[in-house]
Symmetry: C2
DNA sequence: AAAATAGTGTCTTTCAGACAATATTTA
DNA sequence: TAAATATTGTCTGAAAGACACTATTTT
């Protein structure tokens, strides 16, 4: 019988750059014990309604993350990816706000994306696929909003997008793009960071966002 | 232990419209016996290198399809999708050329997409996801080329794209788009279908195509 | 010649990006 | 006031779609 598990690429923005949440494998975890890997775990049919539920359980147990943006990525399978035998991992990726992101503990920590050179199993491949997917979806959705705090200026939000995309974005282009998406609400406030103050925006209520997302999916997916 | 299986959405173009390949469940298949479903089967760790191998085996055994374009779609999982218990299906989709498409048999047949109202399990959901994915990828790749014969005119290829997208495409726009993708080779031949003959094109050799695809994936995926 | 189909020229609209100009803060 | 940052105006170029016009077949 093949092993069925879920691994999660947990991403957040810390100190202005993308970080991945990694867990230390405890002694009872046979292969790669004490190594840092993506949070993951076996599917437990008696406990988990479906694979997404497994992902949420894993995030809660291993990273204390409770309600992230969570989406299925792809399934990585084969005889060789895990020394324990033929396995399939239904990989997911999750985005959390840095204000909500958990502190580092003995068994959990955030690592800057660019510091990661290798990971056990095929986790590096999974990580790269997740970042690729995030960047791809960023072009036609408002995914990076899940990495943004409650309130932000246009410049701050643009900085988030730039981190996600790994490159600079012309301010004019970004402003036109994001406003036309109709996902922001102008709070009327202003906030300065050393020069002319910028308008403070807020995310549109999530109900409305989900609705927009659904429309997008229907068209783009 | 959860069941791990693979289901495949097998698509081709017949009589100018998209058709799905369905298999009749034999008597030994417990639930829904004698019903028509997507070709699928259990993962066999001793036989299959990975889930894609399972998909190829299933296609060969149940639909006599040998070398289709094949890609992973998503994994559908949960306690309720299969009456036999908690299961996960690593769904794939495949495209075959109608010249290569198998004949109908007692246990296999092609059904026009628009005739499908219901399917056992969650196969209708899987089918819809596959068609959505195909349409989405058609916008920025040359996927429908896998549904085209060796040689074709611009108009014929456009008709294929229109079937896939489910709507008409301006001829001028299509021609510019496909030529700029650089996936076609002009054979120098002409072929008439009742009026001015059109140039006959051929797909670029697959090595070159794979290269282009890789570039696309790196960017878009 | 007429009908049918293919291919080209070109205009308009749209949108991204460049960049200059203006506006409003803090130091 | 100078420096920093935010916002707006507007030009240019690329690409999509509309559409008319030309080209080359079959009947």
């Amino acid at each position: 019988m093949p092993l069925l598990m879920v691994d999660v690429v947990l991403l957040t923005l810390l100190q202005g750059s993308l970080h991945v949440g990694l867990c230390r494998r405890t002694n009872s975890d046979e292969p790669f014990h004490d190594k840092w890997t993506l949070p993951g775990g076996m599917v437990r049919p008696a406990v988990d309604k479906d694979a997404e539920a497994t992902a949420r359980r894993v995030l809660k147990d291993k990273a204390s993350v409770t309600s992230p943006y969570l989406e299925q990525l792809a399934t990585f399978s084969g005889a060789k990816r895990d020394p324990r035998g033929w396995s399939a991992s239904i990989a997911h990726y999750a985005l959390v706000l840095n204000q909500v992101a958990p502190e580092a503990t003995d068994n959990f920590r955030w690592v800057p994306l660019e510091d990661i050179r290798a990971l056990p199993f095929d986790h590096l491949k999974i990580l790269r696929t997740a970042v690729g997917r995030l960047r791809s979806k960023t072009r036609y959705s408002s995914l990076p909003l899940h990495l943004a705090p409650d309130e932000f200026t246009m410049t701050e939000l643009r900085a988030i997008y730039e981190q996600v995309m790994g490159g600079s974005i012309p301010a004019r282009t970004f402003e036109r793009y994001i406003l036309q998406l109709d996902v922001l609400v102008d709070t009327g406030q202003l906030r300065s960071s050393g020069g002319k103050p910028g308008k403070v925006f807020r995310k549109r209520p999530s109900a409305k966002l989900a609705e927009l997302d659904a429309g997008l999916t229907a068209r783009a997916n």
